[in-house]
């Protein structure tokens, strides 16, 4: 037997000494005493919470930094195009009555988008806390899925309905979100006078302890991967990603996903074609984003 050639693992290039390769803050956050807090750091860029014009008005500031690996001309062209496309989609949603953050400012050369800060918490947090409260209140049911007519399920069913309505409005407005997860939908407390408006669709009467009642308007956020279009396949993939989000992040609430689809159908007339397409997407296991 010839002496086999051992496979020496190729050493990866050592990580750079200056491991702290902080992204540069966008100029807007560097030129005054105004403070900013980093909220998330995704592949696209960074989200800060800061103020806008008045110190008591908060805004979500999205910064798409330039990517060192990209050719500068290509990088500038892409950053500009993406900031503008996201802004146009926010604007189109708003005009069509879809609850999304209002646009405050755009700087496409710096890759900065500033939007209305949406108070409230993501649907992900609200659903998980509801499930925790439920397993506290009914320990026996802790492990099994929520039944639609189960005692105390009304708030969750109401929330899921409003999620379906929000997605229905989004698709009706000709927008495909591209990354529809329960982290990209906020539950914003009803504003005193806006509650009766149609923008928030059907809603439950006031519960006594509102902060526990999952009450609030669904506001869709983060249109970084969104596109304008009405292809059934893309809409079906939106629903599939949302369904997978429930499946992996809130397994016990996945049983209520049909509620979302019903509300989606009630809000969006052309839904039946999309729901049929959803079947194919499920079959194909359209991997889309695997929800960690």
């Amino acid at each position: 037997m010839a002496t086999p050639e051992p496979v020496a693992a190729i050493q990866p290039p050592p990580p750079p000494a200056d491991a702290t390769h902080e992204f540069p803050l966008p100029p807007i956050l560097q030129r005054s005493a105004s403070t900013a807090e980093l909220i998330t750091q995704g592949a696209e860029g960074r989200l800060y919470r800061t103020t806008w014009l008045a110190p008591d008005r908060f805004c979500a500031l999205k910064h798409r930094p330039s990517k060192p690996y990209r050719h500068p001309t290509l990088d500038a062209r892409l950053t500009r195009h993406r900031i503008l496309s996201e802004a146009r989609i926010l604007q189109k949603c708003r005009r069509e009555g879809v609850a999304v953050p209002a646009l405050y400012g755009i700087d496409e050369s710096q890759g900065v988008l500033s939007m209305e800060w949406v108070p409230g918490r993501p649907v992900r947090v609200e659903v998980n806390e509801y499930l925790q409260r439920r397993s506290g209140k009914y320990p026996g049911r802790a492990r099994d899925s929520v039944a639609r007519d189960e005692e105390g399920a009304a708030p969750l069913v109401g929330l899921m309905r409003r999620v379906g309505e929000a997605v229905g409005k989004l698709h009706k407005a000709g927008i495909v979100h591209g990354d529809l997860t329960t982290s990209n939908m906020m539950v914003r407390p009803w504003e005193r006078n806006k509650k009766t408006g149609p923008i928030n669709g059907s809603h439950q009467e006031d519960d006594d302890d509102t902060e526990h009642s999952l009450e609030g308007e669904i506001v869709v956020i983060d249109f970084g991967l969104a596109s304008q279009g009405s292809a059934d396949e893309d809409r079906a993939v939106d629903l599939y990603v949302l369904e997978r989000a429930f499946g992996s992040t809130h397994p016990r609430a996945e049983s209520l996903f049909p509620v979302v689809l019903e509300a989606y159908k009630d809000t969006f007339k052309a839904a039946s074609v999309v729901l049929k397409k959803l079947e194919d997407v499920r079959m194909r296991g359209r991997k889309r984003s695997m929800l960690g």
Binding site: M1, A2, P4, E5, P6, V7, A9, I10, Q11, P12, P13, P14, P15, P16, A19, H21, F23, G42, A43, E44, K67, P68, Y69, R70, H71, T73, L74, R77, L78, G178, D179, L225, S227, G285, K287, R288, S289, M290, G292
Partner: protein
């Protein structure tokens, strides 16, 4: 428990690769005993057709197999545990020809057969070569473009091409410019792109010109057919300019002189930026800092450099292999097959067929449990 040995046969595209690899289940140490490859090169300006490629694989199967055994110093096949072959994905005729050869060896030597997914082969080989335990994998070749991450005994496809593979796009782009196929089109495109940094004299420095090619990324997927179409238009415009200048004419005012160098430079900058972007998105999604590039296109230095810049910004690093392993080879099929074989996986003879479509996430990765 001594190390186990396997023979791997790869023939899904225009490379016939046969090699002997050993793996010690106890120490998880992998050794390569031989890695022989013969590539079918069609003349410049043409692509490799399934029929001719299959004929090539049949014609060279015995010689490549014998050289693999000789180099490995294997006198008797009974030291082998199994014969592994590429079940798919890939081109039907070449896959089947190679499988017939492998099947005959297995029957003659009385060994088990193991059908292997080509992409899983690339990933397992990449992990061994680079020592990266759980990287996001970018698999880019003539036939495939996938961003993959491991989860619960599956290599899950996070993003992929929506139309043609990136390697296919580069190969066909090279054809429109009559760039030679040997050693492989992508390599020659890269050399031309490097020349874009110099004037015709090859000495004086110049700033390469980034022409305009469509950048098409949609979520975690991307599309390359648009780039091919745009590149063909630019190539046609270049030829018009060549003819005009040759006949003593001059370009219109402000019209940019298109050169093959700038075209190759632009193609690489655009296509690789797309690949790095969808890879970064998958890394952010699964929270991984390591990226492993496998497949023929993974040997490209510019792609590796760009991926490295991205990974560094995320506090991680890029792993890539050289052309011994990056390009289709028998070793990767032998390794992935042996790993499966060790967990009891066998491909019954009557099922030892091939399939052109074979999704990476259809394979049960029984040998991993992280």
């Amino acid at each position: 428990m001594a190390p186990l040995y396997a023979l791997g046969c790869e023939g899904s595209a225009n490379k016939l690769g046969i090699g002997v690899v050993s793996h010690d289940p106890a120490t998880n140490k992998t050794r390569i005993l031989s890695n022989v490859r013969h590539t079918f090169n069609s003349p410049p300006g043409t692509g490799f057709l399934p029929k001719d490629t299959a004929a090539h694989h049949r014609a060279h199967f015995v010689s490549v197999a014998r050289e693999a055994l000789k180099t490995a110093g294997l006198t008797s096949p009974k030291d082998l545990s199994c014969i592994c072959y590429t079940r798919g994905p890939g081109m039907g005729a070449p896959l089947t020809s190679t499988a017939i050869g492998a099947r005959t060896l297995a029957l003659l030597w009385g060994l088990d057969m193991v059908g292997v997914n080509h992409c899983v082969g690339h990933i397992e080989m990449g992990r061994v070569i680079t020592g990266a335990d759980n990287p996001v994998v970018l698999y880019v070749s003539g036939g495939n473009t996938q961003v993959i991450a491991y989860a619960e005994q599956r290599y899950r496809i996070f993003g992929e091409t929506l139309d043609i593979a990136v390697g296919n796009c580069i190969d066909r782009f090279a054809r429109t410019l009559n760039i030679p196929n040997d050693p492989f089109p992508g390599y020659n495109v890269e050399q031309l792109a490097k020349k874009a940094f110099f004037e015709e004299d090859g000495v004086t420095k110049r700033e390469p010109v980034l022409l305009d090619l469509p950048y098409a990324v949609k979520g975690m997927d991307c599309s390359f057919s648009g780039i091919l179409g745009a590149a063909d238009l630019l190539a046609a415009q270049m030829r018009k300019q060549d003819a005009l200048l040759a006949s003593g004419g001059t370009l219109k005012e402000g019209e940019e002189r298109i050169t093959p160098q700038d075209l190759c430079f632009t193609l690489q900058e655009t296509v690789y930026a797309m690949l790095v972007e969808i890879t970064e998105r998958a890394m952010a999604h699964v929270g991984s800092k390591q990226v492993l590039v496998v497949g023929g296109v993974g040997c490209n230095e510019r792609l590796q450099a760009m991926m490295g810049l991205m990974a560094r910004d995320r506090g991680g690093s890029v792993y890539a292999t050289d052309e011994r392993f990056c390009i289709d080879n028998g070793i990767m099929i032998g390794l992935a097959g042996l790993l499966a074989w060790e967990t009891g996986f066998r491909t019954p003879f009557e099922d030892s067929t091939c399939t052109q479509r074979f999704r990476t996430d259809d394979v049960h990765i029984s040998w991993r449990s992280d």
